[in-house]
């Protein structure tokens, strides 16, 4: 299935990626090829087959509601691009 320019722009917005005009044309082509591959799934007779989310059909394990983590803010923030007073810094959002 081919994608048009607007669809590529829409996907890029959802994915928070910047795509310029040259890139957009390349993505239309490349994503179109991948979707053509994926469209082979249409031939599968899936009828009322239940989707398989986990290979062993296990569900998430629950744990006791106890404190298990310690405060490691300084260690985690040591890898952040910009922090101050324990906060992550980003461009101003609210005027």
């Amino acid at each position: 299935m081919a994608l048009d320019k607007n669809t590529v722009d829409q996907i890029a917005t959802l994915a928070r990626l910047s795509v310029d005009a040259d890139d957009n044309a390349a993505y239309q082509d490349e994503l179109g090829q991948i979707l053509a591959l994926v469209d082979q799934l249409d031939a599968a007779a899936t009828g009322d087959v239940a989707p398989l989310a986990h290979p062993l059909e296990l569900t998430a394990r629950l744990r006791a509601d106890e404190v298990s983590e310690t405060d490691q803010r300084d260690a985690f923030q040591a890898t952040a691009p910009a922090v101050a007073s324990g906060y992550y810094l980003v461009p101003k959002v609210i005027d």
Partner: protein, 484 residues
């Protein structure tokens, strides 16, 4: 000593023929000498390695050494290592030093192993040739200008070139087995949930599994026993104790039934690969196994289903890279949206962005049923095919890849032809089954891999079949020219 297997190195250490410090220096020197040609290593951590080696020697002197104590290994750069950069092959994490160790790293360190460094890989494990790495492609030690496979291409090339007896890898659609095949080494992807994913940077969470990459099945068994087992820190870890995989290696193959899926021997298979796998099957027959043709009718849907499930999960997992908490941040963002969009666009490479885009599309409103739901249904069909096959056979045998290693840049312009490299490997991930690749011949100077797939938790049986095969063949003992 660097030509020795892991088991032989363990024996030499135990006998006092060499210390861990000497062994580690030997391997660090070798990495420095040979890696300019291979580019298999992103970060060499010599200082840490020598400190760990010294500690291993002290542990041995105190009489507390285990079988792996003092042996050097390399970790794929997808595993978080406290204090040593973890890049995941991406510009996004070029400056990232994890504040904690992955469980795999921790377990092997607790066993006394020495980390030499971190291996090159396709960016965020997305690739089948190691060409998507921000740190440049890896060269296949068997032939220049040839890819090692991917995404664990650095680990495979390093083990093949004897930079280390062992390396860790991860496998989402074939990323341990395909490079193992292309580089002529042994690699196993365990049952989904067998090895903890904690601290292993997530690509597609319902498919990702870690495993060892070594020269022999005997080495892989030793390493897998130490890596696997329940981990409360990974919510998908299976509550099942680790096993001693070495114990079953010598078991007889009498009475074993090997299934050869007819779908794995059809059009598109290189004649040298087909011939090598048929010869290997005959060799296993001589060891007592019975061969049986089987069918896995939905195999051809594996790649299409994978290219929905894996990118969908990747688009969600990689949403965490936002330029705020860690990783790359663009210069002078105009506003918050610009910070997100430009940090991600500049930090991620082309293949990663392609997969995020495909995944985002597949999960977007109005398309979920047509893509993700459909792919998850097909996933069940594929799993049911395997379960039917395992009613009649014990282990499935086939080629790991359709052809031997291909040339650098040969497939980069055509993503779909690159994806088809994993045609035989992805179905084991979709079904969550254990599977491995081991050397089974050559096409010219390039290695050929044999693929074994087992039922859930049958890693011991797979390693047993591989070990018995390696006792009567010497493909795994061949050394690439210039690496002797």
């Amino acid at each position: 000593m660097y030509l020795n297997t892991l088991v032989a190195q363990a024996r030499a250490l135990a006998a006092g023929e060499i210390s861990s410090t000497e062994l580690t220096r030997l391997h660090l020197d070798r990495c420095q000498q040979l890696d300019s040609r291979l580019n298999a290593i992103i970060t060499l951590s010599a200082e840490t390695a020598l400190a760990q080696a010294e500690a291993a020697d002290a542990r041995r002197a105190a009489g507390q050494a285990g079988p792996l104590t003092g042996i050097p290994l390399l970790h794929k750069d997808i595993f978080c290592t406290q204090g040593v950069r973890t890049s995941c092959g991406s510009r996004m994490l070029d400056n990232f030093v994890a504040p904690y160790d992955a469980t795999v790293v921790r377990r092997l360190q607790d066993a006394g192993m020495v980390m030499l460094g971190k291996t090159n890989m396709d960016e965020f494990a997305m690739g089948s040739s190691n060409e998507t790495s921000y740190y440049g492609p890896v060269t296949n030690p068997w032939r220049a200008q040839t890819v090692p496979g991917g995404s664990s291409g650095g680990s495979a090339a390093a083990v093949a070139a004897r930079l280390a007896a062992a390396a860790t890898g991860t496998d989402t659609g074939g990323s341990i087995r395909q490079p193992a095949a292309l580089c002529g080494i042994t690699g196993i992807k365990p049952t989904y949930g067998r090895v903890s994913r904690y601290g292993m940077i997530a690509f597609a969470s319902s498919l990702d599994q870690a495993g060892p990459m070594t020269r022999t099945a005997e080495d892989a068994a030793l390493l897998l026993s130490a890596m696997s087992g329940f981990d409360p820190l990974d919510s998908t870890s299976i509550e099942r104790d680790s096993e001693d995989y070495s114990a079953q290696l010598g078991d007889s193959l009498e009475g074993l039934t090997l299934g050869l899926p007819k779908e794995f021997f059809g059009a598109g298979l290189h004649p040298d690969v087909a011939a090598a796998i048929e010869t290997a099957a005959a060799e296993l027959e001589k060891l007592g196994a019975r061969l049986k043709e089987i069918t896995l009718p939905n195999s051809s849907l594996g790649i299409p289903a994978y290219y929905v499930v894996a990118p969908a999960e990747a688009s969600s997992n990689l949403a965490r890279f936002d330029g705020v908490r860690y990783g790359y941040r663009c210069a002078d963002p105009a506003d918050l949206q610009d910070l997100y969009c430009r940090s991600r666009s500049e930090g991620f490479g082309r293949e990663v962005k392609r997969r995020i885009m495909i995944g985002t599309y597949a999960l977007s409103s109005g398309y979920y049923d047509a893509y993700y739901l459909k792919a998850q249904q097909v996933r069940r069909l594929i799993r049911d095919d395997f379960q039917r096959a395992f009613e009649a056979v014990d282990v499935i045998l086939g080629p790991t890849t359709p052809a031997p290693a291909f040339g650098l840049n040969e497939k980069t312009a055509d993503p779909v032809s690159m994806y088809l490299n994993d045609i035989y490997t992805v179905t084991a991930n979709l079904a969550g089954l254990p599977a491995m690749s081991l050397p089974a011949g050559f096409s010219g100077e390039l290695p050929i891999g044999m693929h074994l797939i087992g039922n859930y938790f049958s890693e011991g049986r797979l390693l047993n079949v591989a070990h018995r095969y390696q006792q009567v063949t010497d493909w795994h003992e061949r050394v690439p020219e210039g690496c002797e």
